[in-house]
């Protein structure tokens, strides 16, 4: 792998409309410690989900499991996928993914919940 000491990231920025170039800085290089912390957190959270599943929490079991999964997902997205350090348009793309997924899920569920001629869903 050829080594390029420093490349002229800033030098030639800003020539493409305002297309998100202005605020450009070099790639984000995370520290090893950062990755290892996240890794540990993910393992702990995995153990936590399994443990939580053994508890009797009634209808809360699924929301708790989903909550933990979401936290894990957010950690992966923000740190492993560097979203936290990415340009605005990348964040927008990620937000759009979540938003549209929710449209699909929530609006469809509205129908199922609102069907007065059917029994309410049996459970979670």
């Amino acid at each position: 792998m050829t080594e390029h000491a420093e490349h002229d990231h800033q030098a030639d920025g800003g020539h493409h409309a305002e297309g998100g170039h202005g605020d450009h800085h070099g790639p984000h290089i995370a520290t090893s410690a950062n990755y290892l912390t996240i890794f540990t957190a993910l393992l702990v959270l995995t153990a936590l989900t399994v443990w939580a599943a053994t508890l009797e929490m009634g209808f809360l079991n699924t929301p708790v499991a989903m909550f933990i999964a979401s936290v894990k997902a957010i950690l992966v997205i923000l740190y492993f996928m560097h979203l936290k350090f990415s340009p605005g348009q990348t964040k927008l793309a990620a937000a759009a993914a979540i938003f549209w997924l929710l449209i699909l899920l929530i609006i469809t569920f509205f129908d199922y919940i609102g069907r007065t001629w059917q029994d309410n869903p049996a459970g979670w």
Binding site: H15, Q89, D111
Partner: protein, 557 residues
């Protein structure tokens, strides 16, 4: 009626080198990385599919000329309308303007050397052809009879036709569409030349952006829906079959989550074209640029909230139905905003009636009828009466043919000189535009009436008292079919014999028009820098045949 084509008296010469004569081998086309050539590959492919779809349409109208079943039995008729719908929607209309003109013109408009991912672009075309092969195979093996909607459990359990093949065809073509949308989004974000800020982009580019948004967000859902349907058909595990505990309404939710936004995939590019054409032939800056741009995006976004208007009588919750009904009517607002802005642009413009403009004017009228009848259908109470009648058929043909196909014809006539370097015969082109408009209305207007009277769609027989209206419709379809053949002939003719157009026969603004026609293989020798607003027609009115143009020509000759 004066036209710009009549005024342009100057003699032009073909440029010496351009993308068409850069290489002639088959390989140079099939392995091309040039967005312009990819656009033309699509143009040829979708013309082929338009022919197939049109053939099925003719069969349908032929059968419906009489109330009895004389040409086809019910089963064959089911195949005819299903194949017509599948081919026209997935293989003609969805790729039409985006894949042809989006590919050819959009990168030129933003001053880019190419789309962001040229290889991916070519791959999209191959995927399209691969999917299309499945489509052709389906046809050859006897077709499919589920309708373009593939509703379960008929498609997954009861149909005895080639459902899997047809499903695969749409599935694969879907990936082509996803990749095109992705490519365009990145291109528009990242490849704009200096000076072309978001609000200086031509409105066609905005249209492409909004369309791509839907392609990227919606198409994966239809892919998974079709996949689940095919799994169900293969394994019968009850995903959508109520007899096995499944829920067919879920299929409809998933299907329309894509397919309602997909109708905007078909119309948004058309609206983009119309904005370009109206401004160019009114010689005026487009009225309400920001509103038109933003309405495209808001149509794309709002379009994802209304799919339930296809499920009013499917057993959907009435509360959901009420909300869907309301939001559906809201979507008409941004559509109307566009129409008003186009009208305001034409108002007091110096209008010339070349073929593209004739199509654009037709578009405004026909799309308005289609959109307004959509609002009728969005009213739940009314839709219980109209659902699955010819009223719906007329509604969507007004938007899809009167709107989208008309816009496609406008685009074809507007950019044909750019693509080929030649003009088509003016008289013929205007005649064809009139014929298409007349034939179209004769075909589909009676369907509003017969649908309102209660004629259901998708039947091959009907009571005698509706024959007159159906005959009118079939007669109109004959005119329409003939009218579509006319442009095919004169455009082909013009390739050799047309008058040489020069770089900018319409004296239009926009980066694509400063290039030679046909454009050079490498679009811009150096990245252009743009300073002025789009649609800067101010000076052009005072000075119709002006110096500037000639200068440009000499530069590029």
């Amino acid at each position: 009626m004066s036209t710009i084509a009549q005024q342009g008296a100057a003699e032009h010469r073909m440029p010496r080198d351009h993308f068409l004569n850069a290489a002639y081998t088959i390989k140079s086309w099939l392995l091309t990385m040039d967005h312009k050539r990819v656009g033309l590959l699509y143009l040829i492919s979708i013309t082929f599919f338009f022919l197939i779809g049109g053939t099925f349409a003719s069969l349908i109208r032929l059968e419906l000329a009489t109330p009895e079943a004389d040409l086809m039995e019910a089963d064959q008729y089911n195949v005819a309308f299903s194949m017509h719908g599948i081919v026209m929607i997935f293989f003609f209309l969805i790729p039409s303007i985006p894949a042809v003109f989006g590919n050819f013109i959009m990168p030129l408009m933003i001053g880019a050397k190419d789309v962001a991912f040229p290889k991916l672009n070519l791959m999209s075309w191959y995927l399209f052809i691969f999917g299309g092969t499945f489509g052709v195979l389906t046809t050859l093996l006897g077709g499919v009879d589920t309708g373009w909607t593939f509703y379960t459990p008929f498609s997954s359990t009861y149909s005895n036709s080639n459902v899997i093949l047809a499903g695969m065809a749409a599935f694969i073509a879907g990936f082509s569409s996803i990749l095109t949308g992705l490519n365009f989004m990145v291109t528009i974000h990242k490849m704009r030349a200096p000076g072309i800020t978001w609000f200086k982009m031509p409105l066609f580019v905005w249209g492409m952006y909004a369309t791509s948004l839907i392609m990227v967000l919606g198409t994966p859902v239809i892919a998974i829906t079709l996949a689940l349907m095919m799994v169900e058909r293969g394994l019968h595990i009850g995903i959508f079959d109520p007899a096995l505990g499944g829920d067919p309404v879920l299929f409809q939710h998933l299907f329309w989550f894509y397919s309602h936004p997909a109708v905007y995939i078909m119309i948004l590019p058309g609206m983009g074209v119309i904005s370009e054409v109206i401004a160019a032939f009114s010689r005026k800056r487009i009225f309400g640029y920001e509103f038109i741009a933003m309405s495209s995006v808001s149509i794309a976004v709002l379009g994802f909230f209304v799919w339930g208007h296809h499920l009013f009588v499917s057993g959907q919750s009435i509360y959901a139905g009420m909300v869907f009904s309301f939001i559906t009517m809201l979507v008409a607002v941004p559509s109307a905003i566009k129409v008003f802005n186009w009208m305001a642009t034409i108002y007091r413009g110096s209008v010339s009636y070349d073929a593209p403009m004739l199509y654009a004017l037709g578009f405004i009228g026909l799309f308005s009828v289609g959109g307004l009848t959509g609002v009728f259908l969005a009213i739940m109470g009314l839709d219980i009466h109209m659902h699955d009648t010819y009223f719906v058929v007329a509604h969507f043909h007004y938007v899809m043919v009167g709107g989208a196909v008309t816009a496609f014809m406008a685009a074809l006539h507007f950019w044909w000189p750019k693509i080929s370097g030649r003009m088509y015969p003016e008289g013929w082109s205007r005649l064809a535009a009139f014929l298409i408009f007349a034939g179209f209305n004769l075909t589909f207007f009676p369907q509003f009436i017969v649908g309102y009277l209660g004629m259901p769609r998708r039947y091959h027989v009907y009571p005698e008292e509706w024959q007159l209206l159906n005959i009118m419709s079939s007669a109109g379809a004959t005119i329409l079919a003939a009218a579509f053949i006319v442009p095919a002939i004169y455009l082909a003719w013009s390739l050799k014999n047309g008058k040489i157009s020069g770089p900018n026969p319409w004296r239009a603004t926009g980066l694509e028009w400063i290039l030679s026609s046909p454009p050079p293989e490498h679009n811009f020798p150096t990245t252009p820098i743009v300073e002025e607003e789009p649609y800067d027609y101010g000076e052009v009115i005072d000075n119709p045949v002006h110096e500037e143009e000639h200068e440009k020509e000499r530069e590029h000759a």
